[in-house]
Symmetry: C3
Subunit: 353 residues, 3 copies
C-alpha cells in the first residue's frame, strides 16, 4: 500500500507547464483581519475602519494586501515547497483587486522554469501562482523561485529552462485595482498631507519602530496562513530555532513602514524581493525605505511610488541601514540585513488647491 502521507514534491517531480490547483480554497474573514492586526500592528488606513474605506470611495473595507499574499502563498506550500531548501526570490507580484470579508480565494500554480544545480542535489523551480476570488476574478499573481531537494541525485534532469523575469512590474500593469476620487480625502483620516507628488526619488525614510519577534507570534502568523512548511514550527528539526517565515517579516516591516508612508493605499506590486538572511525568535527588526521612482499609470486620483525597503535585525537604529547598489545582480548587504524588497504602493495625488 502506498503511504497516504505525501512528503511534498521533489525536484524530479516537476515538469514545465505542470499545473497545481492547490488545496483548499480559503475564505477570509474579519477574524483573519483582527489576528493580522494583532500579529503585525498594521495601521493601514483602508483596512482600519469601514468609515475610512467609505470616505476614500470604496464600497467596503479591503483586507491588507500582505494578509492576502501570505494566505495565497501558504496554499502553494504543500505542492511546491515542502521540500524546499530555500525561497530564492519573487518577481512580477501584482495585486489586481481588493479582497473583502467573506471572499474565498482559490490558488493555482504553473511551473514556468526548472534548472538543476551543479551539485546535483537540488534544483530551482520557478512557478507562476495566481489567486482568484469566488467570482472568478484574479486578485493576485506572482512568480517565485525556490530551491528544491532532489529525491535521488542520480536522476537525470531536464534541460534547464529559466524564465525571463521582469525587473519590475510594468507601469501599464499597475492600474488593475480601482480606487475612487475620494482617495484625495485621505489627509482627513491620517492627519498627514503628504501626497504622491511629495515623494522624491532618492528620498530616504527611517522608520521609527523596532519590533522583536517571538516564537508564538511568528508561528501563529504562519499557521493563520495555513502554511505548513516544517521549518517554521518544528524545534526538534531546527535544533531549537524554528525559522521565521519570510512573509511574516514582510508583513511586520510593512506595518513598521506606516510611519512616513501613512497615506499609502496599499500595494500594487512587488517588483522583486530577497530574503537575504534568516530571522529567529528574539531578533529585533528595523527598516528604512528609499524612494526609487514616482510613477503615473494614468489614474486621475492615484499614482504609484516605487520603493525599496531594507529590513535589518538587531541594530540600534534604522539610520544604520545601508542601501547598496543592486544594479547588475544581487546587492552586497551588511550582515544585519534580512530582507531587501522592491515594491510599488498606490498613493493619492494632491487635491486641487
Amino acid at each position: 500500500m502506498i503511504s497516504k502521507v505525501h512528503p511534498g514534491n521533489f525536484f524530479e517531480d516537476f515538469t514545465i507547464g505542470m499545473t497545481f490547483r492547490h488545496a483548499t480554497p480559503r475564505t477570509l474573514t474579519e477574524g483573519d483581519r483582527s489576528l493580522y492586526i494583532g500579529l503585525t500592528g498594521t495601521r493601514s488606513v483602508l483596512g482600519t475602519a469601514e468609515t475610512n474605506s467609505a470616505a476614500l470611495g470604496l464600497d467596503r473595507r479591503p483586507m491588507d494586501d500582505l494578509l492576502v499574499f501570505n494566505i495565497a502563498f501558504g496554499k502553494t506550500v504543500a505542492d511546491i515547497s515542502l521540500q524546499a531548501r530555500g525561497n530564492l526570490g519573487y518577481a512580477d507580484v501584482r495585486f489586481l483587486d481588493h479582497v473583502y470579508d467573506g471572499d474565498t480565494l482559490s490558488v493555482e500554480s504553473t511551473v514556468i522554469g526548472l534548472k538543476e544545480n551543479s551539485s546535483g542535489e537540488t534544483g530551482v523551480v520557478y512557478v507562476r501562482s495566481t489567486a482568484r476570488n469566488q467570482l472568478g476574478r484574479d486578485v493576485l499573481t506572482w512568480i517565485r523561485w525556490v530551491m528544491i531537494a532532489k529525491k535521488d541525485t542520480a536522476t537525470p534532469c531536464p534541460i534547464a529552462i529559466v524564465p525571463d523575469l521582469p525587473s519590475s512590474v510594468a507601469i501599464k500593469d499597475l492600474g488593475a485595482k480601482v480606487f475612487g476620487p475620494g482617495a484625495r480625502n485621505i489627509a482627513d483620516l491620517t492627519n498627514r498631507s503628504t501626497y504622491w507628488e511629495d515623494y522624491e526619488p532618492g528620498e530616504r525614510l527611517d522608520h521609527i519602530l523596532g519590533v522583536t519577534l517571538y516564537q508564538s507570534d511568528h508561528s501563529i502568523a504562519t499557521r493563520l496562513y495555513q502554511n505548513n512548511a516544517r521549518g517554521h514550527f518544528d524545534g526538534v528539526l531546527m535544533n531549537g530555532r524554528p525559522l521565521i517565515y519570510g512573509g511574516h517579516i514582510m508583513s511586520v516591516a510593512n506595518a513598521i513602514a506606516y510611519d512616513g508612508l501613512e497615506n499609502s493605499l496599499g500595494l500594487l506590486a512587488i517588483n522583486g524581493g530577497t530574503h537575504v538572511a534568516p530571522t529567529w525568535s528574539g531578533d529585533t527588526i528595523r527598516c528604512a525605505t528609499h524612494v526609487l521612482d514616482r510613477l503615473d499609470f494614468g489614474d486621475a486620483d492615484v499614482g504609484a511610488l516605487r520603493l525599496r525597503t531594507i529590513v535589518a535585525k538587531n541594530i540600534d537604529s534604522a539610520l544604520q541601514i545601508a542601501f547598496p547598489d543592486c544594479s547588475g545582480g544581487r546587492a552586497r548587504h551588511e550582515n544585519s540585513v534580512v530582507l531587501d524588497l522592491d515594491y510599488t504602493l498606490a498613493f493619492p495625488k494632491r487635491p486641487a488647491a
Copy 2:
C-alpha cells in the same frame, strides 16, 4: 460574610445525579475560527472555505469539532474541575451536529459516578456533559472522569458508584451529523482521491509535521476556550512550568494529522482518550495514526473510520512511535508519549466510477 470567590467544588461537594448548568453560554464566531486556525494550523476542508462546505452539500461552513469541544469543555471547568488533580479520561464523546458562526452553546453536566481513592485525599468524579445550541439541539455530549481533591480527608464519602463506560461509541450513534451527497466531490478540493474504502484496518499513517508548543500560544488557546484551570496560566503555582491544556494537544495533533487524512469530514466520536503524560512550553509534538476499523453506519455517501492517534514529544520522527496493545486495560507507553486517542472520523465514500 461568606466569601464571594468560589474555589470550585471538592470531592465531597458532588452527589450522584447532581446537575450543573454551567456559566455562561458562549457564542462562537468567525473570530474564534480564525484564532483557532492561528493556534492549531487546522486545514480541515469543511472549515477552511464557504465554497468548500457548499460544494460538499452543507448550507454553511461548520466550526472545527475540537474548537467546539474545547469551548464546551472549558465551560465545565469552574464547576467540575477547578480542584482537579488530574483529568483521567474521556468516553462516549459524540459530535451530534454542526456548529456555525453565531451559534450559542449552553453546557450542562450531570454527575454519573463517584469513587473515593484509597488515600482518602482525592476521589474520582464521573460526569456526563452536553452542549446544546440556541435552538435547543444537542451538538456534543461526552463523559469525562477526573480526580478531585477532598476538602477534608476525614469527611465520610458515599458508596462508590462507577458508571458502565462504553469502550467505543456505538455504530448506530455515529450518524447524527448530516452530510450531503456532495461529500463525494471532496477530491476536487483536496486533490486527494483517498476515500473511506481506501483505508484498511491495521494501516499506519506517519504524519509529517512536528510542532513546538510555546507559552503564549497554549495559554491563548486555553483562554479562548474560557477554561480557567489555574495550572495552565500560573507560573508561580507551577514552578515556572504551566501545564499545557490537554485539549490543545488534541487540537494540534488533529491539525498535524491532516496529512494523510485530508478528506476527513470531521469528528463523529471520541471513543476514549488518555493524557499519558504532561506537556510544557518548548515540547515538540509529533503523531502517528493506526486505522482501527472501517465502519458503515448506513449513510449512502459517508462512512466512518475508527482511528488511534498517538502523540509523542521530543522525538525525531513519527516513525518512532509505537502502538502498544491496549486490550484489557491501559496501554504501556514509552516515556515520550503524551496522548493516546481513539476516535472516529466521517469520510466520504468513493464516487461511482
Copy 3:
C-alpha cells in the same frame, strides 16, 4: 526636505487647548472580541453570548469595556505619548455607551494641562480624550497625564496649568450607559445570586487565578490596539525587556476579577489609576479587590459598586496583597504591586422576592 517620519510630539509642542483628531478611526469586530478573549481570558457575561445580552435586555452583545478603552487609548499614542517617559495617571474615565460589532470609533484629545518638571528635561501633559462612534455618540471619555520629554532643555516653557481633577466620577455621571430590567435575570446565566445589595463597603475579594504574562501575548494585545509605543515592542531599545503595556495589565486583572464579581455588567467609570511599577514577560500577576462604596445612581434595576483592585506580581497568593491608605496622596505600596485601580462597576439589583 523635512523628514516624513514623525517622531511624535515633545513637551514644547503642546499648548493648552490644542486639539488632536487621532489617526485613524477604527472599526471593532467579532475578530477583535475573539482575540481579546484569547489574550485576557475574559468571561464577562454580557460579552460572552448573544443570548446573554438578549436575556439581560440589550439588543446586541457589547464589546468588553477595556477592549474599547485600550483601542481608543492606542489611537492617542502617536500624537500624545510617543515621547512619553511614563504614563502617570488616569482620572474621570467614563464609559458612556455600549460598543458593538461593526461600530467605528473616532478619537479626539484636547490638552487641558501642562507643567514643566523642575529638571527641565520633561514636563507633564494632561489631556482629555473622547471616543465617538460612527453615529456621533460619545462612548468613552477620559483624562490622562503623562510625562513627556522636552526636545531641548533650554526651551522656555509656558506657565504651569494643572487641571482640577475629580477624585472620582460623579454619581450623576454614572447612568449614561443604558441597561434594561432584564439585568435582574443575571443569576440564570452566571449561577451566582450576588447582587448589588450583597456587596458591603470594606468587603474584600481575593481572586483565585494567577496569570503569567509572556512576550507574544502582551505584544499581540498591544498591536491589536494599534498602540505603537516603542517600549512595548523593541527588545533592543529595552535591553531585552520590552515593557508590558499597562492597559494589558488592566484587562488581565479585570478578567481575573471575574471570580467574585460574576454578575458585573461592566465598567461605568475608572475613578483613578496608577501603574505603580512596570511588568515584564515572565511576571505572574494576581489581584485582590476592596469594595469602596455602593452607589445608587437612580436606576431601578442597576446600581454601582465602587471598587479598588490592587494587582501585584510574583507573589504566592492574593491574600498577601495589602491595601494601604491612599487618602491625602499616593498610597505607599509594597514592592510587588504594579497597579492600583479605583473603578466603578454596574451591578444588577436584587430581584423582588
